[in-house]
Symmetry: C2
Subunit: 327 residues, 2 copies
């Protein structure tokens, strides 16, 4: 099934089931008012949401209406935990080269994660607001999963069964703030502003054979101002799958239901497939021509992130955001 959170003036929005073709939706209040409430009691409520989805897909859901992705908040407009990995290690290697930083060999065996802000997650079509273009505004197109409760010390295989939903992410990064912030030793904070998510989150069964339990084997399509930036396959060159990422993050903690775990910027070693962030494009330009020619994003620029299934149909709807100057 596919789930969205519709804007209704509240902080957590109103849960809706969305049809497989993303054309229609139906409020799911009868089951749970919000997605967090559904995740809090997923085992009991997911079958009821699935039944509603089946009715909707069969054209028999009472109260169905046209689904407008512009009315979608982030599936979880505020979550309790948003941890983002850097699972495509070839990307990490490139970005660090761009910063003039060496990458330790352990990065190929020990996942790298950081914790993002989870109190302010953006809807797919919400503007991304920044005070200055000088911060080096960059998109990062990713895949993320939402877990239920996960115990401390969960192994990678068991962790796979805790993946309840899958969605797309635009993990905005402020590249020019990163070097100074990382030099302080405590990781990202100011350099990682509010993150945006696809209009719908889907259960893994919606992905068919493209989902192998830990990786999503489909191209992630990224456009900037209408031009294709990249279409790497999210299942290729993902050094750590979602099970391994969850194992890593539960070493010393348990995860609460509704935890969002991100893949990090998708990146394939096959560079003909392009990139999912501008930093990678700029690094490749520097390697090829001695200097980066693609600028970071400017006010008014747009980014479009989408994933199509094997029939060419949008799975998650599109993240389609405009960069604007904050008021």
């Amino acid at each position: 099934m596919k789930l969205a959170t519709l804007r209704d003036g509240t902080r957590d929005g109103r849960l809706a089931v969305v049809s497989r073709d993303l054309a229609s939706a139906v409020h799911a209040d009868g089951v749970a008012k919000t997605l967090q409430q559904a995740l809090d009691a997923w085992q009991a409520l997911a079958p009821r949401l699935a039944a509603l989805a089946a009715q909707l897909d069969a054209g028999r859901a009472a109260g169905a209406f046209a689904f407008d992705p512009a009315s979608a908040m982030a599936p979880l407009p505020r979550a309790h935990h948003w941890v983002d990995g850097s699972a495509y290690v070839n990307h990490v290697e490139l970005v660090r080269k761009a910063r003039g930083a060496e990458m330790p060999a352990s990065f190929w065996t020990d996942p790298l994660v950081y914790q993002g802000g989870s109190d302010d997650l953006l809807g797919a079509m919400q503007d991304a607001c920044f005070a200055s273009e000088d911060w080096g505004i960059d998109l990062e197109a990713e895949v993320a999963v939402v877990t239920d409760d996960v115990a401390m010390g969960t192994d990678a295989l068991t962790a796979r069964s805790h993946v309840k939903l899958v969605m797309l992410v635009n993990d905005w990064s402020l590249r020019n703030l990163i070097p100074g912030e990382l030099a302080k030793g405590f990781g990202f904070y100011q350099s990682k502003p509010a993150t945006a998510f696809s209009p719908v989150a889907v259960t893994p069964d919606e992905l068919g054979e493209s989902w192998d339990g830990g990786r999503l084997h489909l191209p992630l399509l990224v456009h900037v101002n209408g031009h294709l930036l990249g279409r790497p396959n999210a299942g290729v060159d993902m050094t750590f799958d979602f099970g391994q990422l969850v194992e890593h993050v539960t070493k010393t903690r348990r995860l609460g239901a509704g935890t969002i775990v991100g893949s990090g910027t998708v990146s394939n070693c096959d560079r003909s497939l392009g990139s999912c962030c501008l930093a990678e494009v700029r690094m490749l330009e520097t390697l090829a021509h001695g200097r980066a020619s693609t600028p970071f994003m400017k006010f008014g620029d747009r980014v479009h992130i989408e994933m199509l299934d094997t029939q060419g149909k949008s799975i998650f709807g599109a993240i389609d955001q405009r960069v604007v100057r904050s008021a």
Copy 2:
């Protein structure tokens, strides 16, 4: 007023108003079921909670009962944002010395923060569970504030007015996991397990003249296994006040209501006042005697963190936790 979240089998608990002397409490369901709900509409609901508190303190609250701190969850059992500063820079300097790391001079002018896990916050008397003593289990006694909604780009003075609640924190740290994790460059994750909070959170007016709008000028009392570890004054040597910390964290983000901002380990330059974490004790021992003799915490050890007002009465109740091996 003083607020607690009582265990009722739900994830977010049940909001209660607690009497000034911490002896009695009354459910606040008539105003808000949970503290997050109260914070979501603080301007409208705080006066109603304050009225209930006044009734309780006057012995006229219907349904009042004895307050048992063991029944308290964290005031916010799960929050949407928990960001911890390192405002006592002399502590940062010492801990880094202990790690053999130099501290850049900019640390005296540019606050250091990291984002902690906010999906699993521990009550004051909940056990702290770890898989191994080898991780270097350490307490960190701190002060924290809870904000309402704060806009991006808020200055330090304005930020002070967004402090709605104050509480105590035990920010557990796994010292032996820190060097390896920080070396990866993305900051803390595995080395910062679930954090614990005092039984009650209080509004700043409860602190009288001890609260200057940005700092809490009272000793923080820390005992380990019944022995005094430290009693530094939280208002002394706090290089960045809470207003400055909020200014720092809103540079590129807005904060959602219920954001928790921590001070970092309280530490005074006057070393006769002791320490609020074992790492600092061990560093001072190393400097004085060439080696650290105080071990990190073992299974079965207890930590007690409390703050008394100028009349010697407990303000927040005590954090009193036992270290146990995770099941």
